[in-house]
Symmetry: C2
Subunit: 347 residues, 2 copies
Amino acid sequence: MSVTIREVAREASVSVATVSRVLNGKGPVRPETERRIRKAAKSLRYIPHGGARSLITRKTSTLGVLMPELYGEFFSELIRGIDVCARRSGYHLLVSSSHSERSETEEMVRAMRGRVDGLVVLSPDVRPSVLRANLPEKFPVVLLNSAGNRLSFDSLNVDNFGGATAMVRHLVRLGHRRIAFIQGPSLNRDASERLRGYREAIGAQAGLGMAPLEIPGDFREESGYEASRKILALKQRPSAIFAANDSMAIGLLCAFQETGVRVPEDFAIAGFDDIPIARYITPPLTSVRVPISDLGARATERLVEAIAAGSDRALFHETLPTTLVVRASCGENGRARARRLARSADG
Amino acid sequence: MSVTIREVAREASVSVATVSRVLNGKGPVRPETERRIRKAAKSLRYIPHGGARSLITRKTSTLGVLMPELYGEFFSELIRGIDVCARRSGYHLLVSSSHSERSETEEMVRAMRGRVDGLVVLSPDVRPSVLRANLPEKFPVVLLNSAGNRLSFDSLNVDNFGGATAMVRHLVRLGHRRIAFIQGPSLNRDASERLRGYREAIGAQAGLGMAPLEIPGDFREESGYEASRKILALKQRPSAIFAANDSMAIGLLCAFQETGVRVPEDFAIAGFDDIPIARYITPPLTSVRVPISDLGARATERLVEAIAAGSDRALFHETLPTTLVVRASCGENGRARARRLARSADG
DNA sequence: GCGTTTGCTGTAAACGATTACAGTCCCACA
DNA sequence: TGTGGGACTGTAATCGTTTACAGCAAACGC
């Protein structure tokens, strides 16, 4: 098979211990010996066996990443954030997608044992208890957008609730009084927080006589497309539509374009996530920016800290802010425009 | 630390060998013993140590993936293709991005030793020799879009050349006689193949008095944006602009929109890659579709085969076809339209 | 009753590294 | 000359598994 430290030792006529010492730069070694060993290692093209090494050093310099899937901008961005931070801290990435199947998730988690030093889990629908049951005691884990209680793991969340209320307030400011919401998957934590934000913001405007108007959806583009039919069939149509994510907003937009409905003239449309496409479509989409790559980077940062700290440390929980990104898809009425101009003149 | 097979053995009052036999389902074990062992394993929450296991079984059930970076649609799609196929074959994914730095690449490759059973390398700019030097003899590797000779590794390519010539021919068919090309990074294999296709297709049209008109670029959106200035400054402007990838085409489009230049009326614009955004922008972008996720899946498939086959097998090389995707950004003249309609009536 | 098979289980040697510990050598110092 | 102590190097235990081999009953065939 491939060359081991033993062969290097034989080639250089020393013991394996000395070879190891040279290659790891610890312990005193005579220059002449070192030279011989390095030469032998190079000529034999010796590469240390990571697995064997981590067995005894008890560290793998690898971080596990568990996601429901790997498709789309969101995951791409997230992985990028994780990657950047991991490499900076000297870690590799073992990526797995679980496709939301519980048994698969279980399988993945178990497979990580002995291969990674810690885990970042994107778990809008992974139950923490499943993790608990399949992980060694005190194993470093950071949960992203987790649905579960915050008692057993470190966690990092995005302010979905705040983003949704901000968007509703923005639409109200633009003069909209009838705002529909296209929901995400019911079990998804992000989706339910956004929904909660929408409801609460609508509720807070009770003085204006506003009422919630919710349309089912599942985060996929098609469900946004579908939603258009339901909306157009409504007796009392909304003037603004707030989709729980950008994909659905885009699906909706396409459907409207095909049927000749104008945006933002006939309907204002807003999304959530601010994926890169959002600003390229016509009209550019008003959305809530989620700092995805920051989320990944921050999670990784905390995970690395947790690994370094060992077992005795407090759990940490953090929520990353979201920001409103205003573009043309919601138009702008005169009053709001004037106010915005006045405000920017202040700054 | 975490619980080992030894503790399970003690708990069940058997030897580690028997525990191993039960958990791997090999060798005869008395039902009663098996029951005891399973109970012990469950109650102690035993999880086998992957590293230790792979040390002796000499297989890791993990595939390494090496890419220059993890950002963007392309990589997202590619990883998805790889992931789907890997999971189907029972493999995990160890993903690394090298950021094109030679030393880093080297480092990554070495770190994979003993952690993966094979490697998929996306290497438009990784030199195979660097791989050779840092990999065990006969290690299974599949190169994607590789620049190097095809002598030492399996390889899988996309028909960049064919795609580029097809696009030029398409533009010629639409009546364009002056077609500019925005180049990609000079050292990138995809970029140079596309350039070669462009040149050859233009050359083949010598009868029409066509000449190449090349503008530098580097695949990034900004360089497309930049290109607009150069093009508008030209004495003899082209009627069509073919960008070596979609990002640059989009950058160019944005620049044109800002300056009031109309597409496709003033310039026809075409890209390459057919990234998802391409059909959402206005006007939708004519492009060359690269089957990215297929590329990843196919590579993985071959890699898995190679691992199974062992060392004695022939190298394989394959080129995946690209397809022309016609949208509004290049317009369409009457003659071409008529011809197309006639042709589709044939089929 | 005696070998031989069969069914089950344990012992111990790998796998490829790291590292505590124990030499060995050489030199300085008393 | 003896001795203490660096500097250097080797031996062997260890990490957590798998698995070849051996052992040991019980059963079986004769």
